[in-house]
């Protein structure tokens, strides 16, 4: 599969802040590729560089076979962008927003009605065509923003955290729409903080402080996780009550909360019986399981090796 985006060693600084510290990115044509990570990881910065909205300091990048810094017009024509903050006109109606975006993309009056109707079928927003965008629910705003980003039939869609702050059901509906677009051949680059969405991507780049800490297809990443992951539980107790004890027992290892339980990636010991013996000698109520990782376990074990000074303390 050819890469629609290929970037090597992208560096971008804002004053003293190093937003991207030499990032590589490959987005295969027709894929949904995810940038996964918290705020400040560099997700929006690399997207803006892809879209020719920001200039890189150094590194090489090709998007749709051109250098975005050199051929902005071509990039703008063939890409659709949904920025992180809601960017539509809240006092315009749904229909007026679609029309406005069609005009700035020079869609042409004849093409417009057909495209609008197709987008209405896709988004099911037609009953709300006269509603002001500001009065739509969160989920519907996302659908409208997506429709506006699609009005000029782009080959590449760049979506910056489109589902942040959106409830799980609306997120599921939004992803169904993305898969429909993928089936039509559109390539999608999307960022998200939600691991359940990362699983729905063909490829992911896990980002932390301007660097890619892990990349690949989610399923293979999980399959290839070679460390030993254990899960601990004390029935009837909250995990916060016994995590410190586990941190003491396995000092120097990655020990962290996971929902109602505690997970630990153990490099020192791999033997289940040995792990069990150690925790039971501290508290007989411990239940221990050796488990397969989820993406969040993988992400945490990767970033724990980095400097963690900036997290909540």
């Amino acid at each position: 599969m050819t890469n629609l985006i290929k970037a090597d060693g992208i560096v971008k600084n804002f004053g003293i802040i190093e937003a991207l510290k030499g990032m590589d990115l490959e987005v295969p044509r027709g894929s949904i590729t995810g940038l996964i990570g918290p705020d400040g990881a560099g997700k929006s910065t690399i997207m803006k560089i892809v879209l020719s909205l920001l200039k890189r300091d150094s590194g090489m990048i090709s998007v749709l076979s051109v250098d975005p810094d050199k051929d902005k017009a071509s990039i703008r024509q063939h890409t659709g962008y949904m920025p992180e903050t809601f960017s539509l006109y809240t006092d315009l109606t749904v229909e007026e927003n679609l029309k406005f975006y069609s005009q700035i993309h020079k869609v042409g009056r004849n093409g417009y009605s057909e495209k609008r109707d197709r987008l209405y079928r896709f988004s099911r927003l037609e009953p709300f065509s006269g509603t002001r965008a500001g009065n739509l629910s969160g989920g519907m705003k996302q659908k409208l923003a997506l429709s506006c980003a699609l009005i000029h039939d782009p080959e590449l869609l760049v979506l910056d955290e489109p589902t942040t702050g959106v409830d799980p059901l609306s997120r599921q509906e939004f992803w169904n729409m993305l898969h429909e677009l993928q089936n039509r051949g559109i390539t999608i680059l999307i960022s998200t903080p939600y691991m359940d969405e990362a699983l729905k991507c063909n490829y992911i780049f896990m980002m932390h402080r301007g660097k890619v800490v892990e990349k690949g297809a989610p399923v293979s990443l999980i399959k290839d996780f070679s460390e030993n992951l254990f899960e601990f539980e004390v029935p009837g107790k909250r995990p916060q009550e016994y995590i410190d004890l586990l941190k003491e027992i396995f000092s120097g290892e990655a020990v962290f909360l996971s929902g109602k339980r505690v997970h630990a990636v153990l490099t020192g010991i791999s033997d289940y019986e040995e792990v069990k013996k150690r925790v039971i000698s501290s508290d007989a109520a411990f239940q221990v399981k050796k488990i397969l990782p989820e993406l969040e376990d993988l992400f945490i074990s990767r970033i724990l090796s980095e400097d963690t000074n900036e997290t909540f303390r």
Binding site: G259, F299, R313
Partner: protein, 252 residues
Amino acid sequence: MKPSGDTTIIIKNLIKKFGTFTAVNNISFSVKKGEVFGFLGANGAGKTTTIRMMCGLLEPTSGDIHVGGISVRKTPGKVKQHIGYMSQKFSLYADLNPAENMEFFGSIYGVPAKVISDEKKKLADRLELSSLNRIKTQDLPMGFKQRLGLTCALLHDPEVIFLDEPTSGVDPLGRRNFWKEIYTLSTKGKTVLVTTHFMDEAEYCDRIAIMNFGRIIDIESPDSLKEKYSSVNLNDAFIRAIKLDRENSEDL
């Protein structure tokens, strides 16, 4: 109705209408002292309207709200002393430095100067910053901002703390440290109400209320919710709960 010793929040038959639209449609629930209570719902389900009424910021159309023994309807101004509010997105002034933010929030709640200066020292030690005056809040790392936000929300020692999507944008380690702190607060008797769209975080709550179309459709522990909707995780349980409620509403 007076709350009993171990109940901090009592909501009874609460209704809020905006014109012909019923945003909150006759909800009742209570929250125990020290409970971590999750407030979930689809966007537009009525969560924010409910929280704003509980904080005394919005007058209910009808119904009763008691927070920390105060009738919010009778004395909406008084309840603010009993509530701390933190939102990852909005609660701090970005162009003030951390010390100024603490002074600001401390002074609007009438916190004694001595308490504010003690808290400043504690925070500086905790963050290992030599000074809280030399950096603007907007330039702090995300995790530090979050700690500052929580500190400001707790300066006046409220009984109840509202956390409105408190971990949005925070890295997975920071989110875990935050939830450990929330647990510590709850063991000290603080009642915690939290909204979040991270369903793995909702697992840390003692009970969860799910709202849809202005009504509460479930109040259960995370485990009972998963069991009720035969789901492996809360994300799945949430989706099933809302879908089922929508189907039932359409049948009527």
